[in-house]
Amino acid sequence: TQLLEQSPQFLSIQEGENLTVYCNSSSVFSSLQWYRQEPGEGPVLLVTVVTGGEVKKLKRLTFQFGDARKDSSLHITAAQPGDTGLYLCAGGSAGTYKYIFGTGTRLKVLA
């Protein structure tokens, strides 16, 4: 069974601070996606990474896929209250037709 563990589970920081969220597995994934989810809404795709070691930037967000494609990280620079939400990673594997979601990191950025 493929599992994706995210850490930390909860994170409360002050506006302007930096943070990193981790997504780890013992399984290899062919792709990994990061989503942000607001309460009562569907996950919104932020980025997809497919190559080991790949780094993608989306404004203040930096995403990295581990060299072995078993883990990923999301780094936010100078967090803002608008970054508050539930961050989810989801892995896809070759030969399967599903994405496995991580346990989620609930981020709160205080003004």
Partner: protein
């Protein structure tokens, strides 16, 4: 920007009743999915669908669940005899090129 749309946004049903949740995937996408999220818990995979047949399903997707693509645009999830534990947010998703996009969800409440 194209998006996955789901109807209804909320559905309240009595235990034992049948419900049909509807989704319109993004038009050029080939893979379709249903996921559910029980309040406060992980996003769980239910089923994937490609080329008019189920590609993969989870243990949750038992005989009371079925999916159908009745025409060229709609993708439905039917729950034949709802149980209290079926209460959850149900998300439809579609994907192409390894990127999956989710709808806003249907909140199903079984009473």
């Amino acid at each position: 920007e194209p998006e996955v749309t789901q109807t209804p946004s909320h559905q309240v049903t009595q235990m034992g009743q049948e419900v049909i949740l509807r989704c319109v995937p993004i038009s050029n996408h080939l893979y379709f999915y249903w996921y559910r999220q029980i309040l406060g818990q992980k996003v769980e995979f239910l089923v994937s669908f490609y080329n008019n047949e189920i590609s993969e399903k989870s243990e949750i997707f038992d005989d009371q669940f079925s999916v159908e693509r009745p025409d060229g645009s709609n993708f439905t999830l039917k729950i034949r005899s709802t149980k209290l534990e079926d209460s959850a947010m149900y998300f439809c998703a579609s994907s192409v090129g390894g990127r999956a996009f989710f709808g806003q969800g249907t909140r199903l409440t079984v009473v």
